[in-house]
């Protein structure tokens, strides 16, 4: 049966595309997965792969033409079939045809089967749920997001997979659990048509934008390689943008003397010489300082219709930004206020190892009320960071460096100095409130005993 070929979303954000080139001519047969045409999207030129075997019966969108997602760009079917019936339906004035696609179009493509199932008669073998089967619409190129099972949607959100980029293997192209799991595992399970197109051979999907070099053009000419963004990268991009563009950020900087903190770290070494991480010490001190500044441990909650609340939390759950080969994640140590440094350190190192290995479950990386990010290991002296919701503040920690310091007695000494930058959401934390917290935290870092006071 002849079917409409729709313009589909070849990237998560694509709303329309330009038909660059048909790779199949009218009357020519094609195999499922072969490239029907090239489409220029908002991001890249993408291959539109055939959803099934067939013949291109009619081209409706000429090369160079633009079409919105859901528009009909051609008619496909079996050899010898005529596109005329569908063409008549698509012609202007043919009652309600239009060119927008939707589930109803797919259902209409199988009217005879659907009708026989609808007229259920009480004769064994022709009706009744046990003997007959509900009729699924045929698998066809469809417009808009693919249908998906509820579980697939939940899993996709949990695993950071953009479900709109997947092609489902269930009935009617439904995206089901196995499709999401395959995508999350980086497998080839059901990628959308064209997604694999522009990635050069040898480049691993999800290996990060910096990991594969762009092949050089002749004599210094600029060449580019477009890598569609999906999965974890897309989630990170969206969340950071949401945070940065919705929370008015401001930054407070302060330099502290890290000598006592580093001495404390040495003092806490266990008999085998294992010392707690600086980040575990900072998490403990931050929790102690936050106890006196509930606003810095709070969060902004938009409730729609112009309403909002500030959520104050009884517990300090500290997230630590951890770099991964293909992104970053913030494992969360719960209730740092009531845990000792060694426990925080043990939980933190377990979570970091898990984040870099098998991966964290959502409850292990969401819900931080305060976040610490430390680029001191890269020699970065100071930097600003983007707040990690639902927290309202993030502490960016620089390297502890030997610096000359003017002492009160007029002499100069060399001390370990560390720069802190506190990023705050001004909707929740006013400047003076953030400054008071940072003052108290700095005091505790310079004299950790104050955390006990």
């Amino acid at each position: 049966m002849a079917e409409k070929l729709y313009m589909i979303a070849l990237s998560p954000t694509m709303t329309e595309g330009t038909l660059a080139r048909w790779k199949v001519s009218e009357g020519q047969a094609f195999k499922a997965g072969s490239v029907l045409c090239e489409v220029e999207t908002d991001k890249a030129s993408m291959d539109y792969e055939a959803p099934k075997d067939g013949v291109l019966l009619k081209v409706l969108l000429a090369e160079g033409g633009r079409a919105a997602v859901g528009d009909v760009i051609g008619i496909i079917g079996k050899a010898g079939e005529s596109p005329d019936a569908l063409l008549a339906q698509l012609s202007p004035g043919a009652g309600g045809a239009g060119s927008k696609a939707g589930g109803t179009e797919a259902a209409a493509a199988a009217p005879t089967v659907a009708a026989s199932a609808a007229s259920a008669s009480p004769v064994p073998g022709t009706a009744g749920p046990g003997l007959s089967r509900p009729v699924e619409p045929p698998v066809a190129a469809h417009a808009g997001p693919a249908p998906s099972s509820p579980l697939a949607r939940v899993l996709a959100a949990e695993l950071g997979v953009d479900i709109r980029t997947l092609r489902g293997t269930g009935p009617g192209g439904r995206v089901v659990k196995r499709d999401v799991e395959a995508a999350a595992a980086g497998g080839s399970g059901g990628p959308a048509p064209g997604r694999a197109g522009p990635v050069p051979a040898g480049a691993r999907p999800g290996s990060g934008p910096s990991s594969s070099a762009v092949p050089r053009g002749p004599t210094g000419e600029q060449t580019v390689r477009m890598e569609p963004v999906a999965g974890k990268r897309a989630v990170i991009a969206r969340r950071l943008s949401e945070s940065f563009f919705s929370a008015p950020h401001y930054y407070l900087k302060r330099t502290v003397d890290a000598g006592r903190l580093l001495a404390l770290r040495e003092a806490l070494a266990d008999p085998e010489g294992r010392k707690p991480s600086i980040n575990a010490l900072l998490a403990k001190l931050a929790a102690a300082a936050l106890a006196g500044h509930p606003a810095v441990n709070a969060g902004w909650k938009d409730e729609g219709a112009g309403k909002a609340s500030v959520e104050y939390r009884s517990r300090v759950d500290i997230g630590l930004a951890v770099a991964l080969p293909d992104g970053l994640i913030t494992p969360v140590v719960r209730d740092c206020g009531s845990k000792g440094i060694s426990r925080i350190d043990a939980e933190m190192s377990d979570l970091v190892a898990k984040a870099k290995g098998s991966g964290l479950s959502p409850e292990e990386y969401t819900g931080a009320t305060f976040t610490i990010t430390n680029l001191g290991g890269f020699g970065v002296e100071e930097f600003t960071a983007i707040i990690n919701p639902p927290g309202s503040a993030i502490l960016a920690v620089g390297a502890a460096l030997d610096e000359p310091v003017a002492l009160p007695d007029g002499t100069v000494a060399v001390r370990k100095r560390m720069r802190l930058t506190l990023g705050c959401d001004h909707r929740v934390i006013d400047g003076a409130v953030g400054a008071a917290f940072l003052r108290d935290l700095a005091g505790m870092i310079e004299e950790p005993g104050r955390a006990l006071a």
Binding site: A120, V123, P129, G130, R133, P150, L151, V154, V176, K177
Partner: protein
């Protein structure tokens, strides 16, 4: 542990309860002199006498009403219906009297009564005597409904039903009376309202009750051969439903098939399917499937009669649909 038939297990439960509590009595067509149409009451008349084991006329509405009145007056009758098909005549007494008496008397009367007998198709009994009518009872607030599938559950649930202070409808099956199974020697009760996992699994939950359990267990075996791990949940009680057990299983497997020999529309199984769709929505990877008796009066022709009931291929096919493993 003794191996008893389903009928022997029921007989043992009746015997023990008649002995334990002299308010308990058994009444129904042929339960006395004839030892029961299916020999469930064998030997009880001889042991307990005609005041405790009563043969009744062939008047379902009449003797069911007699039982309800006796229960209101303080006795604990067990009313045997020769089959649930005949109990249709007694619907008014069960639905309008037994189920509502506690509510409408403001708690002045309770109706501690058990209605029991075989339900569902057997063989060669044609349309009027091959019906699975549990939905009629499970529909009604004020009733409890149990449907044991094993001799041990038949024993334990009948004893719980007799000791319950409210009306309980018990569904047995002609084809199960000869079914053998282990029954612990000591006295025990099976709580009303508790489902049982008959076979643990991880890929799909098959929910059923009563006789189809045995078909479903066979289907689970076949699915295992095909590489799928099916969990089989036996509801055992149809009202109140053990929703917790249902959700726990479906949330684990993400897929659900409900199997019943009753008709599909407005059935216990379609209600369970709705509950699952409603309460496990975000954990479902496929629409809930229903395998039911076909939506037709039971054909007399034996080949058609078998085709109209759930069977292993139908259950396996439904499971493969929710597993997206068709074809």
């Amino acid at each position: 542990m003794a191996v008893l038939t389903y009928r022997e297990a029921l007989n043992r439960a009746l015997d023990e309860e008649l002995a334990r509590d002299d308010r308990v009595l058994l009444m129904g067509e042929e339960v006395g002199e004839y030892d029961g149409a299916y020999k469930v009451s064998k030997g009880l008349l001889a042991k307990y006498g005609p005041n405790r084991v009563l043969d009744t006329p062939i008047t379902e509405l009449g003797f069911t009403g007699l039982g309800v009145g006796a229960a209101m007056a303080g006795l604990r009758p067990v009313v045997e219906w020769m089959t649930h098909n005949f109990a249709l005549l007694a619907l008014d007494q069960v639905v309008n009297e037994a189920a509502k008496m506690r509510y409408m008397s403001g708690g002045q009367f309770s109706v501690p009564i058990v209605f029991r007998g075989p339900n569902g198709p057997a063989e060669y009994l044609a349309s009027q005597h091959s019906q699975a009518l549990e939905s009629y009872w499970a529909h009604v607030p004020g009733l409890k409904v149990v449907a044991p599938a094993t001799p041990a559950d038949a024993y334990g649930l009948l004893k719980s039903a007799i000791r319950d202070d409210d009306p309980v409808v018990m569904l047995e099956a002609e084809m199960m009376y000869g079914l053998k199974g282990e029954v612990p020697d000591g006295e025990f009760l099976v709580p009303i309202g508790k489902a049982e996992v008959r076979r643990p699994g991880s890929d799909v939950t098959l929910i059923t009750y009563s006789k189809p359990l045995w078909t479903v267990l066979e289907a689970a075996e076949e699915l295992a051969r095909q590489g799928f791990s099916a969990e089989v949940l036996d509801l055992r009680t149809l009202r109140p439903l053990d929703e917790e057990a249902i959700y726990a299983s479906v949330r684990k497997t993400n897929r659900c098939v409900v199997v019943t020999e009753s008709w599909p529309q407005a059935s216990v199984a379609s209600h369970v399917a709705w509950l699952v769709s409603r309460n496990c929505f975000d954990r479902l990877d496929a629409p809930v499937e229903l395998v039911s008796g076909e939506d037709v009066p039971m054909p007399y022709n034996h080949a058609l009669e078998l085709a109209a009931q759930p069977n292993v291929p139908k259950v396996v096919a439904a499971a493969r649909r929710v597993l997206y493993a068709e074809g």
